[in-house]
């Protein structure tokens, strides 16, 4: 690990200001992904701003009947919150399907959104990777690509976003709240928060330098049957090959978001609109323009069948 200086921030604004004026600075909260990457020297911050003391660890009702989740709410606490379990079950289910008990106790809401990919070539510093070293090439294209994305990819990167939580938040139309170094605040719809790789796969979100996530808000509950189906190589503690977050109403309408298939949580409102026409119609829209490799072409039928399982469960 490269050496770094360290400070404990006392307010969100102070943290954002420190991050924007200090070259090479990064925020640290749970640290479960950042420290992993720092040990491998994939991340090399020269200064860490510890935001754990910022008191952003509350889950509170919003004035419009939704929930405001502080950036530092731990994954365990978010999954266990009775309001989330009752009104946003897809979110509890997604969180509980991810990581391990130890990691969920440390990992935060904001940190979960900012996770880096688990592409093995991103992790292997001996291999080219456009995400780790822009312009060096993509080893996954033409390499071992079983885990990789099948939709929304580019010639520069076929990595997936590893989060389960973010997939549920996409289905719930969450909003990411931030504060910038000047004190200005922003509300970013989660649909616009994560980016597709394009020619700049190293730029993963629409956050500005120094911008700090303060909360994620959920709109008022939409009801319906909530489920999160995750297919993985082990029964527990593994990243998704394919996951399906589903919210299905009694009349058959609903929302579908997928994990494990793209560089961001994958939801298309046009696919949601096809729900009354059945699984095939939804899958056809979700994967219109898909580009698979020999290794990961199985994800298309797997996603369709997982979606079928989710819709069958929703019918009861």
């Amino acid at each position: 690990m490269k050496s770094f200086t360290y400070e404990r921030a006392r307010s969100p604004l102070e943290a954002a200001a420190a991050a924007s004026r200090t070259q090479g600075a990064k925020f640290i909260a749970g640290g479960t992904n950042l420290l992993d990457l720092m040990k491998l020297e994939i991340e090399q911050p020269t200064h860490l701003i510890d935001v754990n003391g910022l008191a952003l660890d509350k889950i509170e009702p919003t004035s419009d009947g939704g929930l405001r989740i502080g950036a530092l709410v731990r994954n365990t606490d978010l999954a266990a919150d009775m309001r989330v379990r009752r009104d946003y079950g897809v979110l509890s289910r997604a969180l509980l399907a991810g990581a391990s008990g130890q990691l969920r106790n440390a990992a935060t809401t904001a940190g979960n959104l900012l996770q880096r990919t688990r592409c093995p070539y991103f992790y292997d510093t001996n291999q080219p990777c456009n995400k780790r070293e822009p312009g060096s090439g993509c080893s996954a294209i033409g390499g071992f690509s079983r885990q990789h994305a099948v939709i929304g990819t580019s010639d520069a990167c076929i990595a997936t976003h590893p989060s389960d939580m973010a997939v549920a938040m996409r289905a719930l139309d969450a909003t990411v709240e931030t504060v910038g170094s000047s004190g200005s605040t922003r509300r970013i719809p989660i649909a616009d928060f994560h980016r597709l790789p394009g020619n700049t796969p190293h730029v993963e979100t629409t956050l500005q330098p120094g911008e700090l996530i303060t909360a994620v808000t959920l709109p008022r509950p939409v009801g319906g049957m909530h489920s999160y189906h995750k297919v993985r190589d082990r029964a527990s503690y593994a990243f998704a090959l394919v996951s399906v977050a589903a919210i299905v109403q009694k009349d058959g309408s609903g929302r579908i978001a997928l994990g494990g298939v793209a560089h961001k949580p994958w939801r298309l409102e046009a696919a949601d609109a096809a729900l009354p026409q059945g699984v095939k119609a939804v899958a056809a829209r979700l994967f219109d323009g898909a580009r698979t490799t020999h290794d990961n072409e199985f994800k298309l039928p797997l996603a369709e069948r997982t979606l079928a399982a989710a819709l069958t469960q929703a019918k009861g």
Binding site: G30, D50, A97, G101
Partner: protein, 227 residues
């Protein structure tokens, strides 16, 4: 590799005369490191505990309560909680397995919650209460979970065992606190004490010897569940 500025810890060892082989090796290593790292490289921390930019190896101050005893340390900022416990406080119960949060051998309990101590910086744990396997029980006064692991043969090589036991103790606390899991069928009701729940909740602790069924038996006994 990390280069820590090591100093033999005296906090826990004032009344110990016998020096084990492990301690002798550790002290020797500390002397060698100290010789290679002159005092001048240790930066003076500011009053806030923050490290000083511009110094050769940034350090920071941190206070930890470990197994009931207070420790004030000044550490290379890179020092993980695991390394602080093992290398500075000489608590070698928490094990370094993968050092990347994948195996659970480093599991300790911080403020009542189990975490991977390899994925937390020591300085991030200012003022926190840390319990390691050494703090749960000792020979002659074992924690019920330790006794159950012995009774049910919940290990072979034993390397993952301290992490397994710390994890299991905190895991039962999580069920008691009503925290659901992926194995909980109904999110609206409190989770149940079942072997299926225990298996899912213990998935962050890997045992390469494959003692899982005996580990579950030990946990079932302590929990009072009907397997």
């Amino acid at each position: 590799m990390n280069k820590h500025t090591r100093e033999p810890s005296t906090q826990n060892r004032g009344n110990t005369i016998a020096i084990s082989r492990r301690e002798l090796l550790a002290v020797s290593a500390a002397s060698a490191t100290a010789a290679a790292l002159p005092h001048a490289v240790v930066a003076q921390p500011s009053a806030s505990g923050a490290s000083t930019p511009g110094s050769a190896i940034p350090t920071a101050k941190v206070s930890l309560q470990v197994n009931g005893a207070g420790h004030a340390l000044e550490l290379d900022t890179r020092t993980t909680l695991l390394d602080a416990l093992r290398e500075h406080l000489r608590l070698t119960g928490p094990k370094k397995g993968c050092d990347h949060g994948q195996c659970g051998a480093c599991t300790v309990i911080v403020d009542g919650r189990r975490i991977n101590s390899c994925l937390s910086l020591a300085v991030m744990n200012e003022g926190r209460n840390v319990t390691t396997i050494e703090g749960l029980g000792k020979p002659g006064s074992l924690h019920p979970m330790q006794a159950a692991f012995v009774k049910h043969d919940g290990y072979q090589c034993g390397y993952c065992t301290p992490g397994q036991i710390c994890s299991a103790v905190a895991m039962l606390g999580e069920i008691q606190a009503g925290i659901p899991s992926h194995a909980s069928a109904d999110l609206a009701v409190p989770p149940r004490l079942t072997a299926v729940e225990f298996r899912e909740r213990m998935s962050g602790n890997i045992c390469r010897c494959g003692a899982y069924s005996n580990i579950v038996d030990a946990i079932v006994e302590v929990s009072g569940a009907k397997a």
